[in-house]
């Protein structure tokens, strides 16, 4: 019974994250292409994607290494780009913090933007899920995404061909994220959080090392929390 429901949640996770295949495939292939062009061999390129498993941070590191930036700067910049992962981790903690340590470590390694948003939107929508069900669902969400990240890094490194610009696949990422977050706007507080985050993100884009994203994210979270409090005080049920 228990195993059956876990399998069921695992399957649901696979289905929920499958739209992101369209995002991951070109992004991974592009990393493979660029890494090869930067002179990395096959083992180095694959190790990069498997060990780091973070698209934007990998592109940042690759770019800075090609510019001969000092190693410390390369690391700090790429980690700053990945700083949002710490916020994802905090956001997951109330939902999977009670899972065994090895499962939390596995989920941590597998947390990327796409798997995070698939996981958190389901955890929020179905608060009565048990911890094993949440982990099963998350691992399901990872299944069509992460292996393809590895495989298409390899394909990109081997093929070395660029994806034609006319396919406009650059915009697969914004479309997939917008589609994924739209159903998460359940209360006015969610809407305020997003509007403030967007409003801050544009001027904050001038900040170096993608720090504007963190500033905008924190501003949005504070706005959401304050709106929630304000609505509570006015007796509006959330």
């Amino acid at each position: 019974m228990n195993i059956t429901t876990r399998k069921n949640y695992y399957r649901q996770g696979i289905i929920a994250s499958s739209p992101f295949i369209l995002v991951v495939v070109p992004f991974a292939a592009l990393f493979g292409v660029l890494a090869t062009e930067a002179g990395l061999d096959l083992v180095e390129t694959m190790a990069f994607s498997i060990v780091v498993i973070a698209g934007a941070a990998q592109f940042t590191a690759l770019q800075l290494m090609q510019e001969n930036a000092p190693t410390a700067i390369v690391l700090l910049s790429a980690l700053a780009v990945n700083l949002r992962m710490a916020m994802y981790s905090a956001s997951f903690t109330p939902y999977i913090g009670a899972a065994p340590l090895w499962q939390r470590a596995l989920c941590a390694y597998l947390t990327i933007d796409q798997t995070y948003v698939v996981g958190i939107s389901r955890f929020e929508a179905e608060p009565q899920m048990s911890v094993p069900q949440r982990v099963a669902f998350f691992l399901g969400a990872v299944t069509p995404i992460v292996p393809l990240w590895y495989i298409f890094t390899l394909v990109g490194a081997l093929a070395g061909a660029r994806i034609p610009e006319s396919w406009a696949l650059d915009f697969a990422i914004p479309i997939a994220f917008l589609a994924m977050i739209a159903p998460m706007f359940r209360t006015p507080a969610h809407l305020v959080a997003a509007l403030v985050a967007v409003g801050v993100s544009l001027p904050a884009a001038i900040l170096p090392y993608s720090l504007g994203l963190i500033v905008a994210g924190i501003a949005g979270m504070m706005a959401g929390a304050q709106t929630e409090l304000w609505l509570e005080r006015r007796g509006v049920a959330i």
């Binding site: 739209p19 913090g97 993100s201 994203l213």
Partner: protein
């Protein structure tokens, strides 16, 4: 552009891998199932709806593919995706509507 030294490269791969894992594990790993204060939980409820729009917004307004020049097909695709997603709560339908808008307008305006 110059070739990247093998030593530098492996240092970056390994330390960046450890650092990225650390960022992903810092709260689920260290806090685990201990209770977090209500004010923190209240903020964390808005992580996804704040961070992801903030990640996307600059790409919508200044797309990299057009060298940062505002692009009507991309902006329209973003608005349609979000609108359809908000109204129907259907992820696939929102993606298809957004992609349809993008390709349709790129074709018409191209």
């Amino acid at each position: 552009m110059t070739d990247i030294g093998t030593g530098t490269l492996w240092t970056v791969i390994i330390l960046l891998g450890l650092g990225s894992f650390g960022l992903r594990f810092v709260f689920t790993g260290l806090i685990g199932d201990r209770a977090m204060p209500p004010w923190l939980l209240r903020h964390l409820r808005y992580t996804a709806v704040a961070i992801l729009p903030a990640l996307v917004a600059p790409q919508v307004v200044w797309p990299a593919a057009t060298d940062g020049v505002f692009d009507i097909p991309r902006a329209a695709a973003a608005v349609v995706t979000l609108g359809v997603g908000l109204v129907t709560r259907n992820v696939i339908l929102a993606i298809l509507s957004g992609a349809g808008t993008l390709y349709g307008l790129l074709y018409l305006m191209g």
